[in-house]
């Protein structure tokens, strides 16, 4: 097992993990602050990617493409990300208003079901309006592949990892430095007394959904750059896996969700070379097809030994029936 091979996988895992982390962040915010499972989050990610697609196509139409373009691709990308984040935030706000606010005092499981249903509606609406076929995400920046000592790195990979880590840091700053962020953290700790210090609960709830959705939109666009095939169901498996990552990270821990997202990405990617190594060491013949099996067994094992997640405080949340 060469170092090259390991590094290659490491870089791939970084990119893959950043998507999980970005999506898990939004999931974790809603989960930590409002104690709700937002099962619609994966589909908000999907909507974000499609909004990004629409916005970027529109922008490309305005500024032109190729050599005749008025502005460089990266600028279009930045503008696309910003506009899409803004627009998708509204989707999140609507989801909160329609699906979650009426259910804030209901059993949490009911809210989870509502989220699930909103997700189905978003998927169906997509098929209804766009016809269900796969769409290609425009390649806003030229792809370059660099060969660094046998390790292949593309400029997009670097950009994706940097942008997502940047967004995470920005969120971290927001949450630790601003009063809004403080209010969010306070809400995660004690929902009931937050109004007693003059903080409007509903505003914070809306904001939580908005920020989570905006991050999902950013993830969606970066995803479109890395894996340029969009389909209406792209958010489903992401949603459920981000759910795993968010809770694995521990309630109330935004950095926990990030790390768990990266970790999940690492586990998923690294299982494949891991199997190879095992095969060589013990002359086995396991295929990479056991990836999910092994990856989720690891998750299961982590949870059995750390029943409150990686960074979460022990608490006893009951489903309010």
């Amino acid at each position: 097992m060469s170092l090259n091979f390991f590094m290659q996988n490491l870089i791939n895992a970084l990119q893959w993990g950043s998507f999980y982390a970005l999506i898990a962040l939004g999931y974790s915010m809603v989960y930590s602050i409002l104690m709700l499972f937002n099962f619609a989050h994966g589909d908000i990610f999907m909507v974000g990617a499609y909004i990004g697609l629409g916005v970027s196509l529109l922008l490309l139409k305005i500024v032109g493409t190729g050599a005749a373009a008025l502005v460089p691709g990266w600028l279009v990308l930045v503008v696309t990300i910003l506009i899409s984040m803004f627009l998708t935030a509204f989707v999140g706000i609507i989801v909160e208003r329609v699906g979650y606010r009426p259910l804030r005092d209901a059993p949490r499981a009911s809210a989870a079901i509502t989220g699930l249903m909103i997700g189905i509606i978003l998927e169906t609406a997509n098929i209804l309006f766009l016809g269900g076929q796969r769409l290609a995400f425009p390649q806003l920046i030229q792809s370059h592949t660099y060969n660094i000592g046998g390790v292949f790195i593309t400029n997009k990979k670097i950009m994706i990892v940097i942008v997502s880590i940047g967004l995470m840091i920005a969120l971290h700053q927001f949450v630790t430095r601003t009063r809004w962020g403080m209010a969010m953290r306070a809400m995660a700790y004690d929902f009931v007394v937050v109004p007693l210090v003059g903080v409007p609960l509903n505003t914070i709830a809306v904001m939580t959904f908005a920020i989570g959705s905006a991050l999902a939109a950013a993830a969606g666009i970066l995803f479109g750059l890395a894996y340029p095939v969009l389909d209406p169901y792209m958010g489903v498996s992401f949603g459920w896996k981000a759910f795993v990552a968010a809770i694995l990270g521990g309630r109330g821990s935004i950095m926990g969700a990030c790390l768990a997202g990266f970790m999940l990405g690492f586990i998923e990617i690294m299982t494949v070379p891991g199997i190879q190594i095992l095969n060589r060491l013990f002359a086995l013949n396991i295929g990479s097809n056991l990836r999910d099996l092994i990856a989720y067994s690891i998750v299961l094992a982590i949870l059995v030994f750390r029943p409150h997640g990686l960074f979460g405080e022990p608490y006893s949340a009951k489903l309010r029936l």
């Binding site: 060469s2 091979f5 290659q8 996988n9 791939n12 895992a13 990119q15 893959w16 169906t124 098929i127 016809g131 269900g132 076929q133 796969r134 769409l135 290609a136 390649q139 792809s143 592949t145 060969n147 046998g150 292949f152 593309t154 990979k157 995803f223 894996y227 340029p228 095939v229 389909d231 209406p232 169901y233 792209m234 489903v236 498996s237 998923e268 990617i269 690294m270 299982t271 494949v272 070379p273 190879q276 295929g287 990479s288 097809n289 990836r291 999910d292």
Partner: protein, 387 residues
């Protein structure tokens, strides 16, 4: 309450007076399409429906035994689920009283649906299903595509002879019937030529996965000369890109599932120069095939994919069989059996995807072509392989 009973009695008598046969006799031939209009693969359903609607527009009627029948197509959503497919098929057979069935497309629905069609003695052609179980021991069930045991060796021979490959890598979706079957047959065929162990990387992923970088790293490290990936057109761009990004510069070979009009739109320049085995070559097609492609492109704004082409052919051969019966009796049960017999008897039906003759199992014997994606992004004919 007495009035109610009286009313029922009156209606009952009236019902008996008007003989049912007056209503049953109609000159419409119903054909059912249990296809996935919702669920995980709505575009498969959309392609099937497109092809069918195009056919209906072109041939709204059919003459059987001197009588002109109107064709009526009934699309039933199978939601890409086995349970739903079974229900949809039963509904088509018992409620809509279809004469014949085209679909379901994917094996996961076609296998259980075939059971229903066979039990109800209704002829069914699954245009796209490659699982042997679909037609196995089911005289009423046929399929429209060639089977993996044929296509696998075609691809293996091609990469050996044309590309000079000695070591091959395979990347496929373990959770999906079609790619998995094909991957295994390719492996078998390739290792038969080059000896055991010549498939140096046999990597897999799961449906819905978007990231293939880990598998690609393995493939690159294995030093394979060629990558065979029998994946759907929606996954091909991601695989091709992962190959590029991980430094895989060797040729890539695909299968008929690559052959979609959407492939190049999704893939861009990345896919150019690669090969895949399929039913026909869109670029430079002639005759009926060209006509079909042109009409389809005009109607729906994209070149037809393999689903559409196979649906078109399955429909065509089914209508041919109906015509070959020489006349329908009006008794739907008897007619269905007649159609089945006619279907089995058809020789060398000139489909747009090649000449078709069914084996006793109900599987077609047809030729495959290998297509190269040329520099214009067109699917150009490279060679033809017949069984």
């Amino acid at each position: 309450m007495r009035k109610g009973r009286l009313l029922i009695a009156v209606l009952l008598c009236a019902g008996l007076v008007i003989s049912p046969s007056v209503w049953a006799a109609s000159d419409v031939i119903n054909i059912g399409f249990p296809i996935p209009l919702t669920g995980d693969n709505p575009d498969v359903g959309a392609s099937s429906k497109n092809a069918a609607e195009m056919y209906l527009k072109k041939f709204p009627t059919v003459d059987v035994g001197g009588k002109t029948y109107k064709l009526n197509f009934i699309y039933e959503d199978n939601e890409f689920k086995a349970e739903s497919a079974v229900k949809a098929l039963t509904k088509l057979i018992t409620e809509e009283e279809v004469l014949a069935i085209i679909g379901p497309q994917a094996s996961a629905q076609a296998v259980p649906a075939g059971e229903i069609a066979n039990n109800n003695a209704t002829p069914m052609i699954s245009p796209w299903s490659t699982n042997p179980n679909t037609t196995l021991n089911r005289p009423y069930v046929f399929r429209g595509c060639f089977l993996d045991p044929f296509q696998g060796p075609v691809a293996a021979n091609f990469v050996t002879e044309e590309l000079g490959a000695k070591k091959a890598a395979v990347l496929y979706d373990i959770a999906s019937d079609y790619p998995k079957g094909l991957a295994e047959f390719f492996k078998q065929a390739f290792e038969k030529i080059h000896g055991p162990g010549s498939v140096v990387a046999f990597e897999s992923f799961t449906t819905g996965d978007k990231d293939f970088s880990a598998q690609m790293a393995n493939i690159v490290a294995s030093g394979a000369d060629v990558l065979f990936t029998p994946q759907y057109y929606s996954e091909v761009p991601l695989i091709v890109r992962a190959a590029k990004e991980n430094g895989f510069t060797k040729p890539i070979m695909g299968s008929d599932s690559w052959g979609s009009g959407d492939l190049m739109g999704l893939c861009g320049d990345d896919c150019k120069g690669f090969y895949f085995s399929t039913h026909y070559a869109a670029a430079g097609a002639k005759g009926a095939t060209k006509e079909f492609i042109d009409e389809y492109t005009a109607a729906y704004g994209k070149t037809p994919d393999d689903v559409a082409a196979l649906t078109w052919d399955s429909l065509g051969i089914m209508i041919q069989a109906i015509q070959n019966t020489g006349g329908l009796s009006g008794n739907i049960k008897a007619d269905r059996t007649k159609v089945k017999d006619a279907l089995a008897a058809i020789k060398d039906y000139p489909g747009i995807t090649g000449k078709m003759t069914f084996t006793p199992e109900g599987d077609p014997i047809k030729c495959a072509v290998v297509v190269k994606i040329n520099e214009e992004g067109k699917f150009a004919f490279h060679e033809s392989v017949c069984p």
